[in-house]
């Protein structure tokens, strides 16, 4: 403001918009409509601008949507053994024959025991071409934990042939199918574990932060005790306590609970510190003065204020859960036969011959890396997108 003259107070001219006024105009149809959109849409928009995060999100969403139907995409059952093809290297799929496109086919492949090298050798017989079958019947699989069963597969091995896209292990189990089935347990373990860990963490952290006092002290001490326990030995001890006659589902849930129970202190601390800060805000005092119950204050006024933070940190914690399951199973203490997870597969590949002679058994590393990376990218993107003060 310029034009301040000494003595007399400044006289401001009244501002009059010279644009024509129409009473029917929507006042929100202003110059910056994006500011008026709901918060989630703004966040989504920012997320979509983060290419890597968006791609990761799509990738993960697709995978999770596929999870219940993995049996459909897998040509073999998770523990189906093709004893005619043991330790078979990844099989080639052919598309062209004599220059012309004939669709995907495999050739008849016979195993021979080579006593000089003590290995199975595979000979491709190109005179016998076997087109891969689509939408065919194969091993029975279950959808949604046994709600439905089906025998329909996207593609299967032709009569008298095999399709082992990523080879087979020492007892003839198809690596590709196992990676798909393994995704079911390995990826759900992350979600479930996070759910448990956040349920405990948000509840306890919220209580501690909102009410403070003795409750706060108790929760904090509990967290300190849990944090001071060495994690790996604790995993091992808990996992070893799982009795052998538990069903695979119970073992799986147990592992998830173990991972979740050990993870919540981090969440609880973050929630508590947020609560401590927010409860002093004016809008909280206002709500309280108007007679809102603590539950309502927490749910309506506090949680939405840092939900974004929770979502982002959840996305970033899931990989730790997946890696935790993989590590436990790799050590032979998590899931075990007949369950299939990526960790179980890596455990199977834990031998000299697998590393030197059957490297295809190690392909289970690839999905672990991909999913963990995708979650990290997505988490990063979400954090940026949900932060209203971010540069983007």
């Amino acid at each position: 403001m310029t034009g301040i003259e000494a003595g007399a107070p400044p006289k401001r001219p009244r501002f009059v918009d010279s644009a024509p006024y129409h009473p029917d105009d929507d006042p929100t149809d202003g110059a910056r409509p994006e500011l008026d959109a709901p918060a989630w849409r703004l966040a989504l928009r920012r997320l979509m601008r983060h290419r890597l995060a968006a791609a990761s999100g799509v990738f993960l969403l697709t995978l999770y949507l596929m999870l219940p139907f993995m049996g459909f995409f897998a040509p073999y059952g998770p523990n189906e053994k093709d004893i005619e093809h043991l330790q078979m290297p990844p099989q080639s799929i052919y598309w062209f024959d004599e220059g012309g496109f004939v669709g995907p086919y495999v050739v008849k492949t016979d195993a021979k025991a080579d006593l000089a090298t003590m290995r199975w050798t595979y000979h491709e017989d190109h005179s016998v071409k076997l087109p891969i079958k689509f939408f065919c019947e194969g091993a029975e699989y279950r959808i949604l934990g046994g709600l439905f069963t089906s025998k329909l597969h996207l593609f299967c091995a032709p009569e008298g042939g095999s399709v082992h896209l990523l080879g087979t292990d020492k007892v003839g189990k198809d690596v590709f199918s196992r990676i798909l089935y393994g995704a079911q347990l390995s990826m759900i373990v992350g979600l479930l574990g996070i759910f448990i860990s956040f349920a405990i963490g948000v509840t306890l952290g919220g209580l501690a932060g909102y009410f403070g006092g003795l409750l706060d002290a108790a929760v904090m001490r509990l967290i300190e005790v849990l944090r001071s326990l060495p994690e790996l030995p604790l995993y091992l001890a808990l996992a070893a306590a799982v009795p052998p006659n538990w069903s695979s589902l119970s073992v799986f849930l147990m592992i998830t609970v173990i991972l979740g129970v050990l993870d919540w202190p981090g969440v609880a601390r973050a929630v508590r510190s947020k609560f401590l800060a927010l409860r002093e805000e004016d809008f909280v005092s206002a709500a309280e003065l108007m007679g809102a119950s603590p539950g309502r204050v927490v749910r309506r006024h506090l949680l939405p204020n840092f939900a974004s933070h929770l979502v982002a940190s959840a996305a970033l914690s899931i990989p730790a859960m997946i890696l935790g399951e993989t590590a436990l199973s790799f050590l032979g203490l998590g899931l075990r036969y007949p369950d299939v997870s990526w960790g179980v597969m890596l455990n199977d590949a834990l031998s000299l011959s697998a590393i030197t002679l059957q490297p295809w058994l190690l392909t289970a590393v690839a999905p672990v890396v991909l999913v963990v990376l995708a979650f990290n990218f997505l988490g990063d993107g979400l954090r940026d997108a949900l932060d209203p003060y971010s540069e983007r």
């Binding site: 523990n79 003590m118 007892v171 052998p244 006659n245 031998s351």
Partner: protein
């Protein structure tokens, strides 16, 4: 005569000045009493000889007057040269005892044809199976040069085995026949006589075992720790200093001829433990007083040193594949063979396949002493065991795990054994789900649907928990192959990996339902071998740990066999011990084997499995094929590792084609 020692190089010149020609030929009496000429002796000039003995006497004085003269060509091998170091891997420091196993110098030992021959002894005579006359080799010396005489036997028998403090439970069981100790006499310094009132068929076999009970001790050394010969006060003070309770503990601590962990303890083995420095690597040095020579006058062993390197068992195959071991079979399993074969050239070794000498490569041991009474009744029902056995697809397992190189038969004598009969290993081993199902139906183990799991008589689901340890390594894979075929007969198979020791404890306490282990350790029994695995006489038999314990503790703990078959086997085992002729013993063996074949107390999955043996290209005299067996066999022991040698490096390539 030339000899030098690193520490005494000053004395070398003086020695050289008076050096006589190589010891002149002398005569000796061999074990058959023939007077033979000793070949001219060849001195091995080796700085690496043990330095603790100071200057060693010449070879002629180190050998017994009647050494054991070995002609390697008689066992299809060649004369060797001295030198070299045999590197091998062991999984923990405790396994340094393998030096005693592989060394395999025993009073009496098995030859490659599994016949018993005198070894440390010059000769032995047995009268009526109850009187044993042992003749020692005159002039035989311990590895520190002290004479090995009947005093060493007397010391063990009178001052150790019958000493109330050192053996509170009295003499060990194998020295007793019907609870009676022998009468032991020592007429002269080279004669020892053990005499029982009735036959002791276990005695000689025990002495020839891979892990023998040494019935002699280096008395001159051990007396230093014995209250009878040394001032008790001094000993107690010494024990206190070492943190031990009393002199007896101190004595026991120093007295471990099998454990091989006291470098000061004199030995008679071909190699003796040198001072260990790190606990990660053990050196065993040739025993300068070893009693065997080859027919050209070269003292055995040919190889100067054993180098035992501690490495995790899971790394052994990888390390061997890179040529870091000269001769290795321990901790290498058949699945490693493909890798070993592919690395042969680069690693400078040859991967050979021996055969396992166990009665079964892998066997299921239903625990007849399982704690749960309902389950125990099921496990004790032969029909149940037969059904489980018939629901194992042995051909498939053999193909998948052993490349079709094993035999898909049950637990029992291998074809090389004189007691072999297909009738002992074939019954109930054919893959027949229909018959198996019929047996279980007959037992009244009901199932709700034709494809569902069965239930126990008390309504619990029929869930068989099979626990396994590291031995055999492929157990987990084999069980996985069984899961599906057992499901067909309505048996749910659950598996659990265990640590070796905890599995053993679980079986003995009755908390393990079915254990997986290798079959009977003796797959090549002869009628004169004690049928210890076949009768409930050992706690370590996984099928009846408590019955075995009952026998071993003379009824103090455990349970008496309470099934007709158990009692019958027990009676047969006792009858075997009383039998006096091999025909009678063979007849008893066959009866026992027939009971086992019918009852399937041990369910074998495959037998005669291949065992990879990594042999360095420079290593000679290691058989192309052999039986990898613990007892009898002592692993390499029966193939005489003292005859193994390293070809001199120049001719290594030329000779690589030899046998």
């Amino acid at each position: 005569m030339r000899f030098w020692n690193r520490l005494h190089s000053a004395a070398l010149l003086a020695l050289l000045a008076v050096s006589a020609p190589i010891a002149e030929a002398r005569e000796f009496i061999d074990e058959k009493g023939r007077l033979l000429k000793l070949p001219p002796l060849i001195e091995h000039t080796l700085a690496a000889y043990d330095t603790h003995a100071g200057a060693l006497p010449p070879i002629a004085e180190r050998l017994p007057l009647a050494p054991r003269v070995v002609d390697p060509t008689k066992s299809g091998r060649q004369f060797g040269v001295h030198g070299g170091s045999w590197r091998m891997f062991i999984e923990k420091a405790k396994r340094v005892r393998l030096g005693v196993v592989y060394g395999y110098a025993r009073l009496i030992c098995y030859d490659a044809d599994y016949a018993l021959r005198p070894d440390l002894l010059l000769s032995f005579d047995v009268f009526e199976g109850r009187k044993f006359v042992f003749k020692l080799r005159p002039g035989h010396k311990w590895s520190d040069g002290a004479p090995f005489t009947s005093e060493d036997f007397r010391y063990w028998w009178e001052d150790v085995a019958n000493h109330p403090k050192l053996s509170p439970g009295g003499p060990p069981r194998f020295m007793l026949v019907n609870g009676e100790p022998p009468r032991v006499t020592f007429p002269d310094s080279t004669t020892v006589i053990y005499e029982w009132s009735s036959p002791n068929p276990y005695f000689l076999k025990k002495l020839a075992a891979a892990a023998p009970p040494f019935i002699y001790r280096p008395a001159h050394y051990m007396k230093k720790f014995h209250a009878k010969y040394t001032d008790v006060k001094k000993l107690e003070a010494k024990a206190k200093k070492a943190g031990l309770r009393g002199w007896a503990a101190l004595h026991n601590d120093s007295d471990n001829m099998y454990k091989n962990d006291n470098p000061d303890l004199p030995t008679l083995q071909p190699w003796r433990l040198a001072k260990d420095l790190s606990g990660r690597r053990f050196i065993l040095i040739r025993n300068a007083f070893f009693h065997r020579i080859d027919a050209r006058g070269r003292q055995l062993p040919y190889i100067d040193r054993l180098e035992m390197i501690v490495a995790s068992s899971s790394l052994t195959a990888a390390k061997s594949a890179s040529g870091e071991a000269d001769l290795q079979a321990r901790n290498i399993t058949f699945p490693d063979m493909a890798v070993l074969k592919s690395e042969e050239k680069r690693g400078g070794f040859e991967a050979r396949l021996w055969r396992k000498g166990d009665a079964s490569q892998m066997a299921l041991y239903p625990n007849l002493n399982y704690a749960d009474p309902v389950w125990r009744k099921v496990l004790r029902d032969a029909r149940f065991r037969r059904a489980l056995s018939m629901a194992i697809d042995r051909r498939l397992i053999n193909r998948v795990l052993y490349f079709d190189l094993a035999k898909p038969v049950g637990n029992g004598p291998l074809p090389e054994s004189p007691l072999y009969d297909p009738g002992f290993v074939k019954p109930w081993t054919q893959f027949d789900l229909k018959a198996a199902n019929a047996l279980l139906d007959e037992m009244g183990l009901k199932r709700k649907s034709a494809r569902g799991y069965r239930f126990l008589p008390d309504g619990r689901p029929l869930e068989v928990i099979v626990e396994y340890a590291s031995d055999p390594a492929e157990a987990a894979d084999a069980l996985e192959l069984m899961v599906e075929t057992w499901r067909e007969i309505g048996v749910r198979l659950l598996t659990r990996p265990r640590d070796r020791d905890s599995l053993r404890k679980g079986v003995e306490s009755g908390s393990v339902m079915i254990a997986v282990w290798t079959g009977w350790s003796n797959g090549l029994p002869t009628p004169s071998d004690p049928p210890l695995d076949l009768a409930p006489m050992q706690q370590s038999s996984f099928q009846w740990p408590k019955w075995g314990q009952f026998f071993e503790t003379k009824g103090k703990s455990g349970e008496a066999p309470d099934t007709p078959e158990g009692r019958k086997l027990m009676a047969l085992g006792a009858a075997w011990a009383k039998a006096t002729t091999d025909d009678a013993r063979a007849a008893i063996w066959r009866k026992m084997l027939a009971i086992h074949a019918e009852q399937l107390f041990v369910i074998g999955v495959a037998s005669g499995a291949p065992q990879p043996v990594v042999v360095s290209k420079a290593m000679r005299n290691v058989p192309k094929s052999g039986v990898w067996a613990w007892d009898p066999g002592a692993r390499f022991g029966v193939y005489r590792p003292d005859l193994f040698f390293f070809a001199p490096s120049k001719s290594a390539d030329k000779k690589s084609g030899e046998k």
